[in-house]
């Protein structure tokens, strides 16, 4: 089964099991350390995640807010590098759920996009998200991913106009990653942005793949609201990454992270919409 097929199957089985949207928690590879991040990824799967988004630490993460930025910096400082993330985290987590790797453009360019895609496939990843690789810069990466059955997942933002959305939707693989707000990753209190349902329906209208939403979603209530606004998948990052780093010295953060994921999963449980 290719990565693209495995992602499609994960969305379908979430729907079939009555979940209102697929749950896709994010984790930073190598944070708080390699072994714990592997256990967090597996705990996500056991706690009800349908897919896992796995971040590769990068020195200059322009799309990330303070929590994920700090987690990546800590992982780099501890000496975590891409090969470690692939073998110690991606591979074992991918035995449980499809893994979509989130990596900024430069580490991909440095390795060469073909070799990078080979490494993802070799370690069992199903897809790739590159937050600083818009449509115009994506052709080489899309070709490399398509040749290997990997899903190159594009992002759309509330600022993306319809004509552009149509071009993005036409070449989307796996799912579309809708950014819920204009801003970087990070927790936001209260209700989701008013225009979210509009962005989601605009995205859905221009593609055949599912439409997931992330950025600023941290509570079960917000996850449920995103599903109600029409999201096929919900991505939660900073809240979980914060919990991964919050344990007292010597305390294992995995149970606390697991409890959060279970709460998010129950927020999305219930009667399927439509």
């Amino acid at each position: 089964m290719t990565g693209i097929e495995r992602i499609a199957e994960a969305f379908e089985s979430a729907r079939a099991s009555g979940r209102r949207a697929a749950l896709m928690p994010y984790l930073m590879g190598g944070y708080p350390d390699l072994e714990t991040s592997r256990r967090i990824g597996i705990e996500y799967a056991l706690g009800g995640a349908d897919l896992v988004e796995l971040g590769v630490p990068f020195s200059d993460p322009l799309a990330d807010g303070p929590v994920i930025h700090a987690a990546g910096t800590a992982a780099l400082r501890a000496g975590v590098r891409l090969p470690d993330v692939l073998s110690e985290v991606v591979r074992p987590v991918a035995e449980h759920v499809p893994v979509v790797v989130m990596c900024y453009a430069n580490p991909i360019v440095a390795r060469g996009v073909e070799r990078f895609a080979d490494a993802l496939v070799e370690h069992g990843a199903s897809g790739l998200i590159v937050p600083d690789l818009p449509l115009e810069e994506a052709p080489a990466a899309l070709r490399a991913c398509d040749e290997r059955g990997l899903a190159l997942v594009p992002l759309v933002a509330p600022t993306t106009p319809d004509a552009r959305l149509a071009r993005i939707g036409a070449q989307a693989r796996g799912f579309i990653y809708t950014v819920s707000l204009t801003g970087t990753t990070g927790e936001r209190t209260g209700a989701l942005q008013d225009g979210l349902a509009g962005v989601l329906s605009r995205a859905a209208a221009c593609t055949t793949v599912p439409v997931a939403v992330g950025f600023g979603i941290s509570t079960p209530e917000q996850a449920a609201a995103a599903a109600a606004a029409g999201a096929d998948g919900v991505i939660v990052g900073s809240r979980l990454v914060r919990a991964a780093g919050e344990g007292a010295p010597g305390e294992d953060p995995v149970p606390a992270v697991g409890a959060l994921v279970r709460a998010l999963a129950s927020g999305l449980a219930g009667t399927p919409v439509g």
């Binding site: 990068f58 020195s59 200059d60 322009l62 799309a63 807010g65 930025h69 910096t73 780099l76 590098r81 891409l82 900024y104 453009a105 430069n106 580490p107 991909i108 360019v109 440095a110 390795r111 937050p131 600083d132 690789l133 818009p134 449509l135 115009e136 810069e137 594009p154 992002l155 759309v156 933002a157 509330p158 600022t159 993306t160 106009p161 552009r164 993005i168 950014v179 204009t182 801003g183 970087t184």
Partner: protein, 399 residues
């Protein structure tokens, strides 16, 4: 309407989060129409003349020439209002922001010169201004922090990483992603995603246009070499551009060798010529490790303390049209002191890199050096270091 370049050879592009793509399109359209609009050009020209003080002089530095053993002319961007070339770009972009109806301006700054220039343009044009600055640079460039405050700008301290220019740019981009509807980002150099590298170059080429006419008038010939320091590379691309089609003119970009290229503590991605990569929205010459993590730069000069560079410079290098070299902290400090003693001009530490290379690397029939800024901002830092170098700085025995 001619198009704005997105690529220079293989370099350039738009490697940014999707949220910013419509804003880059809007900016490109606004810039394309502004530069063809006689009214815009007239207003920009009037401000550059009456407010900035252009044209800046081209000065034949005879004592420096004697010291170097060949003729040296200095393009005096240090005499601009706010003391550096940065104001040429800041005023131009602030006018473009007004055309787009954006009332909030953000900027990054390293040495503080671009921050001061942007704060100045915003005061003049009634725009709100927030400047991101690393806390290490705030320490090194305290007078400029105070100037920005006086001009009504808010200086936002950046604590991440090495607390210098790279992190300030990243913080500004994150602000822009968040506030893109109301905000224009006045990037300070010919870096970043398209259309910035081409737009900033076009706003800075006034330096080279003036200098070319001035040197023809004063010396009756073109220069043998045009020499300028390169951090992001805006003063250098501005002074180079009008000479690119003069094959007899050698173009020399001088980067920061910091503590020495071999130490790894430098800011010389063009000179070192490692694997190119993506930083702050563009594919260009950058400093990175073998797995693509961006490295910290080092230079005594905050304006050159940056691990990336403008994509057009990377192409000028690869195509063989320009050559890039590097000067250490110590050599720059010596040129800083020498220029002060011989010419009564205190250059910015950035510009001192270009002077240092010219002095040490004859022969030349005529050097035209872009003196991109004045050194008042560097006094505390430079005197501190000069005091540690024997035979330099204060004291009657020093030359």
């Amino acid at each position: 309407m001619s198009t704005v370049e997105h690529r220079f050879g293989p370099y350039g592009g738009q490697y940014v989060p999707e949220t910013l793509m419509p804003a880059l399109d809007e900016l490109e359209a606004a810039w394309s129409s502004a530069r063809e609009d006689p009214e815009f050009q007239a207003e920009l020209g009037r401000l550059l003349r009456d407010y900035v003080g252009r044209p800046s002089p081209l000065y034949e530095a005879s004592r420096l020439s004697e010291h170097a053993g060949h003729p040296i002319y200095l393009k005096r961007e240090d005499l601009n209002h706010t003391g550096a070339h940065k104001i040429n770009n800041a005023i131009g972009q602030a006018l473009v922001a007004k055309r787009m109806g954006k009332r909030r301006i953000i900027a990054e700054t390293g040495a503080g010169q671009h921050g001061v220039a942007t704060a100045t343009a915003c005061a003049l044009l009634e725009l709100e201004c927030v400047v991101y600055m690393g806390t290490e640079d705030m320490r090194r460039q305290k007078p400029n922090v105070e100037r920005m405050g006086l001009l009504g700008a808010w200086v936002e301290p950046v604590e991440a990483g090495a607390r210098t220019l790279k992190e300030a740019v990243s913080a500004a981009i994150r602000d822009w992603v968040t506030n893109v509807d109301t905000t224009h980002y006045i990037i300070g150099s010919c870096v970043g995603p398209a259309p910035y590298p081409a737009m900033v170059r076009d706003l800075q080429r006034v330096i080279g246009d003036e200098a070319r006419a001035q040197v023809l008038e004063q010396a009756g010939r073109l220069p043998d070499r045009v020499i300028a320091c390169v951090g992001g590379g805006s003063n250098s691309i501005g002074v180079f551009k009008p000479f690119v089609d003069d094959p007899e003119v050698r173009l020399i970009g001088v980067e920061a060798a910091g503590e020495g290229i071999d130490t790894g503590r430098h800011g010389a991605p063009l000179t070192v010529a490692g694997l190119p990569g993506v930083l702050h929205g563009a594919y260009s010459a950058i400093m990175q490790d073998e797995v693509g993590q961006i490295l910290e730069a080092h230079s005594i000069s905050a304006g050159l303390d940056y691990p990336g560079t403008g994509p057009e410079h990377a192409w000028l290098r690869d195509s063989g049209r320009a050559r890039y070299v590097a000067i250490t902290d110590r050599e720059a400090l010596e040129a800083f002191a020498t220029t002060a003693r011989l010419e009564g001009i205190i250059p910015a530490l950035e510009s001192a890199h270009a002077i240092a290379w010219a002095i040490a690397n004859g022969p030349s029939e005529l050097d035209l050096i872009c003196l991109s800024g004045r050194g008042d901002k560097d006094l505390a830092e430079a005197l501190d270091h000069l005091g540690r170098l024997s035979g330099l700085g204060s004291g009657p025995e020093a030359r």
